[in-house]
Symmetry: C2
Subunit: 337 residues, 2 copies
DNA sequence: ATGAAAGCGCTAACAT
DNA sequence: ATGTTAGCGCTTTCAT
């Protein structure tokens, strides 16, 4: 492949005429090295462009100064959280390593555990796991979860947002615009966030004295693949909804696409509200009205919490819940008449 | 911290009553293990929840099945590229490790080289480096650069987009709207992309027979911190520009903020065009007209090119240049009168 | 078919 | 102040 090998600590030691131990001491600022020797070693290090291998270093020492961020995939949700984490990490002395556990292997199954196993104990001092479905209690390192699908009960420090309240806001917004037949494209069954969003939807209807109608609910499953058919069913009903609240932005955007396919115009013929406020929601056509979760803030909070955990200044049952707010764009409008 | 230690190959070997060598063979599907032994080992592995440490494995073997993505920071530009890389990686058999080299240490100086040194030769089989300023020629592993600041000449396989043409489109758009005093908020001096964007700006003016006026050019440096003052100068000129083309979206958005501070309304009093089309540009107020670089596509292309490189099917002087296009939103308008 | 042992690059205890 | 050495978890010859 490429010719030149990495420069190792042995190369430096040889070139400087000292032992590897001495080089190690210089690199790590340990005492017991003469100033002149240290200078010579540093010169050689610069000349050779040496920097120690993360891998070898972390195999030996307990502390690496690296925080791992474990995600299933690099998609709009996780990358927003990543931006917040990155901003919080600047100047903290920690480096960030983001690991996508789902990309390599076919199965989504258990990426959290596999990833944690592969990296922990060695490479990273602590981990932030984004939207895990399951997490082992004994990862061996401090772990903070962001928006875990099992809810904050899992025994881990957790950052999430107020899903119930957000869904309530979304539904209330549609009801206030005069909509009575409000469809709901639900999230993935069994996931806590999905359940809370459905509760908020029902509460929003109840507030307005609208009876819940199971025919107006379909499972979108948070994913493009599952959302298309569900949205199509919803919009093909004899008495179709005049508004749809989708459990996340991705499926809301799909709903708008399906509507277009069916000859329905948004927002004239159909109002749509999403959830998350990923940047893509603003890029949609029309720009999507949605519920904001402060994803970057969640990332930043996760970083700070993990740091506190690492220094023993936080409890493992810490739970930070952030607000959700309505962001009005152009996909919703008052029901005429 | 946490009680339980990682499960190591030695634990598995002991529990299964075999040597670590045998366990290793089973894990890696090597020949020379009796079926019954292999079964027993696999059972123990499941029971103990063992999976091999990436670190230890990669220290020993040359191939890890991991691709590194090296970025300075996790910001809108790099995370878009990341999304594209992630999408391309699904099903490829490679895992993705994104490394932010700037966050830990204070200095931005040489993050590319430091990161590459820390990870290469061991952890990752190949690397995609996003917007590097300098890259060592002898990284020891295949490297693809995305939008390198030195241009494609650096001797590395490179993915970038047509900066010159994009800037021409931006300027032409403003000129066609009737603007004659078109300001330019330049990128970082010395960077190839910045130079090409300035060339495009000048060409756009020349096309329309407008003389280039150095007073209408300020250095925004691609960064928020440097852009504010430059934009303020530009907009405070006696004969202020009626339109500004900023060399990237971030500084274009800052320009709109500065305009608001000065009591100028966009687009009524000032038209603004950006460059990049990061998702944030659509979230701006008003939504920003900008030049799109297909960032996700650039990421996907980078991944494919790296794969080709790894299997020896691509030349190291490959250069892929993608198109740039105008995305019209609400920050530009025809000059009245 | 299985295991013993060397060694990847590094750190840290222990000599000298 | 400096060097020698063991060993982190793993893979890979090389014996047996």
């Amino acid at each position: 492949m490429n010719a030149r090998r990495r420069v190792t600590i042995t190369d430096v030691a040889r070139a400087a005429g000292v032992s590897v131990a001495t080089v190690s001491k210089v690199v790590n600022g340990r005492y017991g090295v003469a100033a002149t020797t240290a200078d010579r070693v540093r010169t050689v290090i610069d000349e050779l462009g040496y920097s120690s291998s993360l891998v070898a270093r972390s195999l030996r020492s307990t502390h690496t100064g690296v925080i791992g961020i474990l995600v299933a995939e690099f998609e709009p949700f996780s990358t927003e959280v990543l931006k917040g984490l990155g901003a919080a990490a600047v100047g903290s002395g920690y480096e960030l390593l983001a690991w996508s556990g789902y990309s390599g292997h076919g199965g989504q199954e258990g990426w959290e555990r596999r990833s944690l196993n592969q990296l922990s104990g060695t490479l990273i001092d602590g981990a932030v796991v984004v939207t895990p479905t399951v997490v082992d209690a004994d990862a061996g390192i401090p772990v903070v979860t962001v928006d875990p699908h099992t809810g904050p009960s899992a025994g881990f420090p957790t950052i999430d947002s107020d899903n119930y309240h957000g869904a309530l806001l979304a539904t209330r917004h549609l009801v206030e615009l005069g909509h009575r037949r409000v469809g709901f494209l639900a999230g993935r069954p069994g996931l806590q966030s999905a359940e809370e969003r459905e509760r908020g939807y029902r509460a929003g209807l109840a507030e307005a004295g609208i009876e819940f109608d199971p025919k107006l609910v379909r499972v979108g499953g948070y994913r493009t693949e599952t959302a298309d058919g569900a949205a199509r069913e919803l919009l093909s009903l004899d008495e179709r909804p005049t508004a749809v609240f989708a459990a996340n932005d991705i499926t809301a955007i799909r709903t708008m696409n399906v509507a277009a396919d069916l000859g329905l115009k948004v927002p004239e013929d159909l109002s749509v509200v999403g959830f998350d406020n990923v940047p893509e929601s603003a890029l949609a056509n029309p720009p999507l009205t949605t519920i904001e979760q402060p994803l970057q803030e969640m990332g930043a909070d996760a970083f700070r919490l993990l740091l506190a955990l690492l220094s023993g200044q936080a409890e493992t049952d810490t739970h930070i819940r952030l607000r959700t707010t309505l962001v009005e764009r152009q996909s919703t409008r008052a029901l005429p008449g």
